[in-house]
Amino acid sequence: MNKVVKIDIDGLECIANSDQYIIEAARENGIYIPTLCNYPGVKPKGGCRICTVRVNGKQMTACTTPVSDGMRIENNTEELINLRKSIVELLLVEGNHFCPSCEKSGNCELQALAYRFGIMAPRFPYLFPVRKVDASHPKIIKDQNRCILCKRCIRAITDEKGRSVFAYRRRSSRVEVVVDSKLGKQLTDELAQKAMDVCPVGSILVKEKGFITPIGERKYDKNPIGSDIENITITKR
């Protein structure tokens, strides 16, 4: 049953609905909790761990934890900011991310988070993995160098029969997101575009569409990621 609850985020009293996850409730209250794997309207799967907050002292992911009345949430603490920053750095060293040559630059959430956290150089050594670019599908390119394995495409893109177009393959550090060879061929323009839009980085690209919006006019070229949430007028509180 849906009811109105009060939660506390970094000392700020917020109003939320009991059927909301922390990240959604925070958003409606003008508080941005960074994330890479969460996507509005898609079932959450706490994979990137960037939205980690402390709920009543315990580390939890804000995208998968429902709010409950009286919850005390720590969000912008030094510890958590450092954790999030280190996860963004981990993702940067795990793949091969060359922003200047990437079609998604300026629209990329990983790049935008790196800017937001002021990352100049990652603290971790680069892993320089050898990864492939799969251009075998008629409509899309899957560039594994840039994939951050967030599963957004896996969760969001299914065909008309509900079958998955994208899926994980293998496990451990060898895991990758691959495209179904048959369904990949049948992908509609609409689904191909949705897959590209849902991808937080430049791993899924619609062929011949990479530079439709010129660099300089892209989403995060003008305003940092999260600023749209932080600048909304709060009507609820």
Binding site: P44, K45, G46, G47, C48, R49, I50, T52, Q59, T61, T64, T65, P66, L83, S86, I87, L90, L91, V93, E94, R123, F124, P125, L127, I148, L149, K151, D159, K161, R163, S164, V165, F166, A167, Y168, R169, R170, R171, S172, S173, R174, V175, V178, V179, D180, S181, K182, L183
Partner: protein, 600 residues
């Protein structure tokens, strides 16, 4: 082939939640899961091929390529290495003429590595076509390879006598030994099946739960959640259907006690599941067993069948109207992380064994999103004894915080490795004395497997219990002659890297980075800062979703904490920075290709 697969799919009613079973049967029949089989399975189960493949590629014992008429999986755990695995491995390679990860050109034999197979008290050990071969020596390997080349069936390849107890029984016929070295209430050989069922049907389910709560028993898998509370939560949730899972997926390196219970006291496990089912109002039980114990399948299925004949399972159990409960066995296919309860459920639903986000916990939304109790084998066995003898009696064993007894799987450098049932509160010193390890020759003890702690002699007075050293029961002893960092810490770290499900960024990446640092130090290229980095970076893992991820840095963190001198001895004293980059090694390949000598 098409017919075989059609039959297999029909056997599981074209049910995509039984994908694991379909794949296990296919792998067993064909030796691998070919592309055509994947297409057919996907078609019949209304899934995409890539979806079927994501389950296949998750599990170690499924393969897209043929694995040989004889598929040899040699364990690579720490204790196997300590007991002479290196020579055994190289003999396999020599005799077969292939390297690990390869199959002989004629398709006869495939050679593969595998994580701990639950035989730590009889290593080195290997699984060949689902049968376990223990105590391997180079000599024994030569015999095995000769038999393989002659095309002998695996069951005819044994040379040693069958193991003790039921291992020798008609339906098992295995060389595996139980090595039960100390018995207690759980391992009591005079256990009479069915007594607890007779008792509970005269009780209300709430009374059963009360008795369990009175015993203060906590989960034996390692996390230690109070069992009575778990059952009560599940009881109180209204649902059309509820499930009991018995977690027999013991994958923590060094643990093998569940294997012994499955062999000697399977009826006790099943009775425990029935008791739990009665208490929470569940009608179906699933006994999830790790693939490594597949050699017990026929034996266990037979026991289930006998229990049904005796009306210990099925409809109106024990004559009690409306008390219905049955059990099915679900095998895994090689994945440590499936021992985590929500990953176990995912796997039983035919999916990749990735842990779920919690809340909701399985007691609320588990198998098929229905309330589900997941209990460890030992917990369920203990619960039967609590019902038979009372919670107060149970509390007379152990300590106030940790009531009852604990089964320990002890291995490593000691005279009598095996399974010991002791009261909680047992100290490490007593344990060493018990197993015939000479205290003065012991360098360290790994308590609770790789996810636990590596402790040194100054802590041997600590006790086993939730209040001090909580453990699922794996204890590995390392003598003074062992190289802890190379033989133990590196091996454990590689284990965690291999076994990560890969879905959390933290657990997928950090252990690899830590391993590189560790190797840098072992290669004499480390500096003091590297130790600080590892300590600091290891903390990131606490943000992971499950216990595997959260503890994946424990081998490194706990060895830095308790054996810091081993690291300090190896780092360079005169340097504060070293990139660890070796130019000679980096250009070696290209130099060889162009026939030049590195000019550095």
């Amino acid at each position: 082939m098409k017919n075989t697969i059609t039959k297999t799919i029909a056997k599981y009613h074209k049910d995509k939640t039984r994908l694991m079973d379909i794949l296990i049967d296919t792998q067993e029949e064909l030796g691998y899961i070919p592309k055509e089989a994947i297409s057919q399975i996907a078609e019949d189960l209304h899934m995409s091929e890539v979806d079927v493949e994501q389950t296949i590629s998750f599990y170690h014992f499924f393969s897209f390529q043929p694995t040989g008429k004889y598929s040899i999986y040699l364990n690579n755990s720490v204790v196997a290495v300590m007991m002479g695995r290196k020579e055994v491995a190289s003999t396999f390679e020599q005799e077969l003429g292939i390297k690990f990860g390869q199959v002989t050109a004629d398709g006869l034999a495939g050679l593969f590595e595998t994580s701990c197979i639950g035989m730590n008290d009889q290593e080195p050990a290997a699984i060949i076509n689902n049968m376990v071969f223990t105590r391997l020596t180079p000599f024994r390997v030569k015999e095995i390879v000769r038999d393989i080349k002659e095309g002998k069936p695996v069951v005819d390849m044994f040379r040693a006598s069958f193991g003790d107890g039921k291992n020798a029984s008609e339906l098992i016929r295995s060389v595996v030994s139980n090595n039960i070295r100390k018995i207690g209430p759980v391992l009591d050989p005079f256990y009479k099946p069915g007594e607890a069922i007779k008792k509970i049907i005269k009780m209300k389910p709430e009374e059963v739960i009360e008795e369990i709560k009175r015993s203060s028993i906590r989960g034996r898998g390692g996390a230690g959640f109070p069992t009575g509370l778990k059952w009560e939560f599940c009881r109180k949730i209204e649902a059309d259907k509820k499930y009991i899972f018995c977690n027999a997926d013991e994958g923590e390196p060094g643990t093998f006690k569940d294997r012994v219970i499955l062999t000697e006291l399977p009826r006790l496990i099943m009775e425990g599941m029935v008791v739990a089912g009665y208490a929470v109002g569940a009608t179906e039980g699933i006994l999830y067993i790790r693939f490594e114990y597949k050699y017990l399948e026929r034996y266990l299925e037979n026991i289930l069948q006998k229990a049904r004949e005796k009306n210990y399972l099925g409809k109106d159990i024990g004559g009690k109207k409306g008390f219905n409960f049955d059990i099915r066995i679900q095998f895994g296919a090689g994945a440590y992380v499936c021992g985590e309860e929500s990953a176990l459920i995912e796997s039983a639903e035919g999916k990749r064994g990735e842990p779920r986000d919690r809340p909701p916990f399985p007691v609320r939304r588990g198998y098929f999103d229905m309330p589900t109790v997941v209990n460890n084998v030992e917990t369920l066995c203990s619960a039967v004894k609590v019902i038979l003898n009372g919670g107060e009696w149970y509390k007379s064993f152990g300590t106030t915080e940790s009531t009852g007894t604990k089964l320990l799987s002890i291995s490593g450098d000691c005279r009598f490795p095996g399974v010991y049932e002791v009261d909680w509160g047992f100290s490490i010193n007593d344990m060493l004395e018990m197993v015939g390890a000479v205290n003065s020759e012991v360098q360290a003890v790994q308590v609770g497997g790789p996810s636990g702690a590596l402790i040194g002699p100054n802590e041997f007075n600590r006790i086993l219990g939730y209040e001090d050293l909580a453990t699922g029961g794996s204890l590995i002893i390392f003598g003074k002659h062992r190289d802890l960092l190379t033989d133990v810490v590196l091996n454990f770290t590689e284990f965690f890297i291999e076994e990560s499900c890969g879905s959390c960024s933290t657990c997928r990446i950090v252990p690899t980075i830590l391993m590189k640092k560790l190797k840098k130090i072992l290669n004499a290229r480390g500096v003091a800062q590297d130790i600080e980095d590892m300590t600091e970076w290891g903390k990131i893992l606490r943000a992971s979703r499950c216990g595997l991820g959260q503890t994946a840095a424990n081998p490194i963190l706990s060895s830095i904490k308790n054996f810091r001198h081993l690291y300090e001895e190896k780092v360079q004293k005169n340097k504060t920075f070293d990139s660890g980059f070796d130019l000679n090694a980096a250009v070696l390949e290209s130099c060889e290709a162009t026939n030049r000598i590195p000019n550095i």
